[in-house]
């Protein structure tokens, strides 16, 4: 009797497994069959970190590029050809991100692709360098990616992290009051993102005579920073520059710095500058200052593209409030993709790597529609400009406190 019952259970389990496997295979197969049904459109591919440590950014990045493609199609597409957007979750893991990249490339042959990290950008660039068929972009501002010679098919819609650090150093020097030069402490995460601009930044600080009195390396998302704050207090810097973090441990640092009586001014690079994250710092946000590679979604004055972006997002997602900087960044990348594609299509050139690279490098004095306040040149495969913003506690907005600074 028991055996019979067990065998029935086993049969059920096997049937369930079979059904599960069959269903899963069918569903994953659908993905492949649909691919054959499409023609004519220009595919925009993306591997976005919709899960993992940067999920909050990845979801907004994905929505941004997806919405941009829809908006562009409503405006007539690229020379009459529609943009078709395909993306999958990268999990912010190299294996997964590269698998998504290779999957979308083999299924849909996208001429343009947005990835998720420096690791992805470097690995994918190696491959694209050989095939010469695509143009890549992503949220990585790693210094060695803005190198048209060695990384010919990647661009970034901003200045490199090194350029941002230099802008902050310049801001520090310009902010100096009195005869004494101010001193700086660097706090950066123990990641590729965090360490990227440090060595060259250190050299640059030396050349402009800016003393770096302390460097603190933290874990990304560290919680206990009391030892590091004690070191900062002893070093007595006038400015503390954070790089390689998005949120934690910046609020904890600033809170403990204030509690210990430090008056040093905190500064940060672009990915720590989203309003939602700065809001989350609470009281520590007061006076938070940093570099942005483009305007915020609420800066619609003299920025027709930002107005369009807002109107489209609110039409598509009526319940949306503030549009994060990640969303704006994707629109910015999308705009550059579209400009490159349009230049190729207009001149009757096939959408291959060489033509798109040529089109990218031909972008000179280009009006981005208000993403940045100066005309853009993409010769160096980066927009190469930024502006310093400061958090205003009253309006709870980040407001510009400098003109646009161009490094190109």
């Amino acid at each position: 009797m028991t055996t019979e019952v067990n065998s029935k259970v086993a049969m059920n389990r096997r049937q369930l497994l079979k059904a599960g496997l069959g269903g899963a295979t069918m569903l994953s197969g659908l993905n492949l069959t649909v691919a054959f049904a499409e023609t004519g459109d220009i595919v925009v591919g993306a591997s976005q970190p919709m899960t993992g440590v940067f999920a909050f950014a990845g979801v907004a990045l994905n929505q941004g590029l997806s919405d941009f493609c829809e908006w562009k199609n409503e405006k007539g597409g690229i020379g009459g050809r529609k943009l078709r957007y395909y993306s999958e979750d990268s999990g912010y893991k190299l294996d997964q991100s590269m698998s998504v990249f290779k999957k979308l490339v083999s299924l849909h042959q996208p001429p343009v692709f947005m990835g998720d990290s420096s690791g992805w950008a470097k690995a994918a660039s190696q491959e694209v360098k050989e095939t010469g068929k695509m143009l890549l972009s992503g949220p990585s501002f790693a210094t060695d990616l803005a190198d048209p010679q060695n990384v010919p098919y990647y661009f970034m819609a901003g200045p490199t992290w090194l350029a941002q650090l230099k802008m902050l150093f310049k801001f520090v020097v310009d902010s100096a009051k009195g005869a004494n030069k101010p001193s700086v402490a660097l706090v950066y995460s123990d990641t590729e993102f965090g360490r990227d601009p440090i060595v060259a930044g250190r050299e640059y600080a030396k050349t402009i005579g800016l003393p770096i009195v302390l460097e603190v390396v933290t874990k990304a998302g560290a919680v206990d920073v009391s030892t590091e704050v004690a070191r900062l207090r002893r070093a007595k810097p006038d400015f503390v520059i954070f790089h390689g973090h998005v949120l934690a441990p910046i609020p904890e640092f600033i809170k403990q710095m204030r509690e210990s009586g430090m008056t040093a001014r905190p500064l940060g690079t672009n990915w720590s500058m989203d309003k939602l994250n700065v809001d989350a710092m609470g009281d520590a946000a007061d006076g938070w200052t940093g570099v942005m590679p483009h305007v915020y979604s609420y800066e619609t004055k003299d920025a027709p593209m930002i107005a369009e972006l807002n109107a489209f997002a609110r039409k598509k997602r009526p319940d949306v409030g503030y549009l994060p900087m990640f969303y704006v960044y994707s629109w910015f990348v999308g705009s550059i993709f579209a400009e490159v594609l349009e230049r190729c299509v207009r001149n009757g050139k096939p959408l291959d790597g060489a033509n798109m690279r040529g089109a990218l490098e031909s972008i000179e004095n280009w009006d981005s529609g208000g993403f940045v306040g100066l005309p853009i040149s993409m010769k160096g495969h980066q927009t190469g400009m930024g502006r310093v913003y400061q958090y205003d506690k009253g309006s709870k907005l980040l407001k510009p406190i400098s003109d646009w600074i161009s490094i190109t």
């Binding site: 979750d89 698998s99 690791g119 190696q126």
Partner: protein, 346 residues
């Protein structure tokens, strides 16, 4: 025993593939693998390449943990040693067919040093010692900039023989799977030798093994060396596959990935290493494929279902461990047993 399967010699009794049917299946598998890149799309070839690398690393960890009972939480870091050794040598013009074994030897050398404490400690204590190695080696990868490229990582020149460059997935498929085949065959044979049996004796009861005359120092360090050699080779292949690597790849998470693979696949089984690596590599891809398919019809679902797929993956592992505690290798054994008697099964 299979019907009409008579073993008439010791050679026959000791053969890996003992029956004509097993040999035919193996030949079919080899033929299938040789033809695979030409019939599969780019994405599937990419998955096959990744799978080959993960199988090699998993097989290495299974030798150390599954067969010898020495838990390691630093396997990913040993892959890193192999990766950076291959990259360093490749930059100096050493051909890939020499850098790959050299990477294995470099990882094995570090593995022997790390393995020395295993003479005094075992179980959880050894796990913590290897965990420390994981962090220590990643620190070295980040700081030894002149060799590793530091936190930004390193670009690896493509593998080549003369003018033939291994710069596509299709071309890398064969070196990866040739290495995987050689190393899996090596692992399978290892446990038919005195060395392999000594490993198993140590795992079952190291004191008893010593009483039986097994030199614990020699065999534990051998186990470390062999396992880390496998990790080093896997790391070198990874370097040639992606041609750009940074220390952020070789995380503790990756070490746990391999540990999970041998547990799900089956501890102390070469087949278990393969099945575990297949499970851990392909199941998330299958789940992601399902999510992507649903997203084609409902684009907004991507943001909701993507986090859900991770939960489902975790749940499947838990359910699997509850219902199949002996791993996938045991399921495979049951399937084989069924077909041994088929169609005369009662």
């Amino acid at each position: 025993m299979r019907i009409r399967d008579f073993k008439t010699s010791y050679e026959n009794d000791e053969a890996i593939w003992q029956t004509p049917v097993a040999r035919a299946w193996m030949a079919a598998l080899v033929a299938g693998l040789l033809a695979f890149p030409f019939v599969a799309g780019g994405y599937l070839v990419n998955l096959a390449c990744l799978l080959g690398i993960h199988i090699i690393a998993t097989a290495g960890l299974n030798i150390m943990t599954g067969y010898t009972g020495l838990i390691s939480l630093g396997h990913a870091a040993f892959m890193g040693v192999g990766c950076y050794t291959a990259a360093y040598l490749a930059h100096r013009g050493v051909p890939f067919y020499l850098t790959i074994p050299a990477a294995g030897v470099a990882a094995a050398t570090i593995g022997i040093i790390v393995g020395i404490p295993s003479l005094r400690i075992k179980g959880l204590y050894l796990a913590i010692a290897t965990l420390a190695t994981q962090f220590l080696l990643v620190f070295v990868f980040q700081e030894w900039t002149s060799v590793t490229g530091g936190a930004s990582g390193t670009i690896v020149p493509a593998a080549r023989i003369g003018d033939f460059v291994f710069n596509t997935d299709l071309r890398m498929f064969y070196p990866i799977w040739i290495c995987a085949a050689i190393l899996l065959l090596g692992a399978r044979n290892l446990f038919r030798t005195r060395v392999g049996r000594a490993f198993i004796a140590i795992r079952d009861k190291d004191i008893s093994a010593q009483v039986l005359g097994i030199n614990l120092l020699r065999y534990k360090l051998s186990s470390f060396a062999i396992a880390t050699f496998y990790a080093g080779v896997a790391g070198a292949l990874l370097a040639y596959y992606y041609r750009a690597m940074s220390p952020e790849y070789f995380t503790l998470q990756l070490s746990i990935f391999y540990l999970a693979a041998i547990i799900v696949g089956g501890l102390g089984s070469t087949l278990g290493s393969i099945l575990g690596a297949v499970f851990m590599t392909l199941l998330p891809e299958l789940l992601r494929g399902i999510v992507a398919s649903i997203a084609l019809w409902a684009p907004r679902s991507l943001e909701i279902l993507s986090p859900l797929q991770q939960a489902v993956f975790g749940l499947i592992i838990i359910v699997f461990l509850i219902f199949e505690p002996h791993g996938m290798a045991d399921i495979w054994r049951r399937i084989r047993r069924f077909f041994h008697l088929w169609p005369f099964r009662a």
